[in-house]
């Protein structure tokens, strides 16, 4: 059992590392084409990473070890999330069930590392980005936990792989009101957590509107490379989770070669579809004022809570 899980984990990590920058490239291309431009190409994020690897890394006086270690922690947490979430296959390790709270905590370790990197820069921008980022992370956590809790009630377990497998076995549950409400809430939570519009504009130049950019404004060279790769991995993993919950078919339930291949192909297709839809939606949406973001997050929490109450009504009736 563990050998299968280990194979799938390795495949997931490799696929996500290769595909996440391509996903970001695809999203930028979709946005460019909708704006009438040609765009830099799907491979551009990989070119960015290659360039950052050869650039100098500058460390300002006053920064400490956190500026060097933080980016590594972010990447490692992103890789760990890719191992734990059922993306290609839903076969967890025997001694490490991919429990909801464990996955969320690992994600939050990365969030904290990024926030500390922002604070360590010792500039006003870094602190500002860090403060906004942590406020949003604090307000997103209830939505994420309650939404996945809603999805776990019909299954009886909060292990993500069990939830995905239960949805494969019972197609009707994917289209149920519980599922739809919870997934809408999760979409908003993912958008907030990964710093996409309308919560944060990833390509802004105005420091006072930055959240994620402000935290990395001081990093250069390979520090910046790790930070970018870590953020892209988190985006890919969370979109992959949404894909596995929305369209669970294709997720491998064993470690055979055929199942793994199908899993990889369907994962790539799901990521491409979700990424394109997200990028297209971003073209039509403007960034929200920072102090309107809690209202958006409160709304998503209400949806998640409604999903939980709906799941009780369904179980009672059924």
């Amino acid at each position: 059992m563990n050998a299968g899980a280990a194979t799938l984990a390795a495949v997931q990590v490799v696929v996500m590392v290769v595909v996440s920058p391509l996903l970001v490239g695809l999203m930028r291309q979709v946005r460019a084409r909708l704006e009438g431009r040609v765009g830099a190409g799907v491979l551009q994020p990989w070119r960015d990473l290659r360039k950052l690897a050869i650039k100098e890394t500058l460390r300002a006086a006053g920064t400490g070890r956190v500026s060097a270690v933080g980016p590594l922690v972010l990447v490692v947490s992103g890789l760990l999330v890719c191992v734990l979430i059922p993306l290609v296959g839903a076969v967890p390790f025997v001694s490490l069930p991919d429990d909801l709270f464990v996955v969320v905590s690992v994600l939050l370790v990365g969030t904290v590392a990024l926030a500390l990197v922002g604070l360590d820069a010792g500039t006003a921008f870094g602190g500002m980005g860090s403060s906004r980022h942590m406020t949003i992370a604090a307000l997103v956590e209830p939505t994420v936990l309650v939404a996945v809790y809603a999805l776990s009630i019909p299954v009886g377990s909060s292990a993500l792989s069990r939830i995905v497998v239960a949805r494969i076995d019972d197609p009707a549950s994917v289209a149920s009101p519980v599922s739809l409400l919870a997934l809408v809430a999760l979409v908003i939570a993912v958008v907030a957590e990964t710093g996409r519009l309308p919560v944060d504009n990833p390509s802004t130049h105005l420091e006072l509107t930055m959240i994620h950019e402000a935290m990395v404004i001081e990093s250069s060279g390979r520090d910046l490379g790790w930070l970018e790769l870590g953020s892209w991995l988190r985006l890919g993993a969370l979109l992959g989770l949404l894909g596995s919950l929305l369209v669970p078919w294709g997720v491998a339930q064993d470690a055979s070669v055929a199942a793994v291949l199908i899993g990889v192909v369907t994962l790539v297709l799901k990521l491409a579809a979700l990424g394109s839809v997200l990028a297209a939606a971003e073209v039509f949406v403007a960034k929200l004022r920072l102090f309107r973001v809690p209202e958006l997050l409160a709304g998503s929490f209400v949806l998640a809570f409604l999903a939980v109450t709906a799941s009780y009504l369904v179980v009672q009736a059924g």
Partner: protein, 160 residues
């Protein structure tokens, strides 16, 4: 939203076709592999060059397709793009911006004012041209230079 969709469908592709590729810039430190971050510094211009730079990164000329991207921080940049004559108040911030950019870096002076003070030569707040404050690697003359010329200069750095 429907209006925006109709506009997108009607406009289609706005970017003009790419002109032939120019030669790469000399120097062993310019091996950036097609990904270049550009930090724009306005050292004291009349805003004419800014408009041309904005047009360069706009949909018609679309410098991003060659790998050049405007970035928010000097630490993320490979190219420091200077427009305007260097005024007294901006000479130190300009120097600090270039110093904050990690190597390998390229300094681009765009416009007559940045190259040689242009019409503001001898003015009361003017400290000099860009090469008086920092080492300039590539000069793009013109008042203002056309976006084509700016694109060509950037393509010499990105090699795309």
């Amino acid at each position: 939203m429907r209006g925006l969709l109709r506009l997108m469908r009607a406009a289609g592709r706005v970017a003009e076709p790419a002109p032939p590729r120019p030669e790469g810039l000399e120097g062993a430190n310019v091996a950036l592999g097609g990904s270049v971050g550009v930090r724009h510094v306005d050292a004291g211009s009349c805003n004419g060059c800014e408009i041309e730079v904005a047009a360069t990164f706009g949909p018609v000329y679309d410098a991003e397709r060659y790998g050049a991207k405007l970035v928010a921080s000097a630490r993320h940049a490979d190219v420091v793009l200077i427009t305007g004559v260097v005024t007294r108040n901006m000479s130190e911030p300009l120097r600090r911006t270039v110093e904050a950019t990690p190597n390998p870096r390229v300094v681009l002076a765009v416009g007559d004012c940045a190259c040689s003070c242009g019409v503001f030569a001898g003015g009361i707040g003017v400290a000099g041209a860009a090469h008086d404050a920092v080492d300039v690697d590539l000069a793009v003359p013109g008042c203002p230079p056309e976006p084509d010329v700016i694109v060509e200069a950037l393509r010499r750095v990105t090699r795309r």
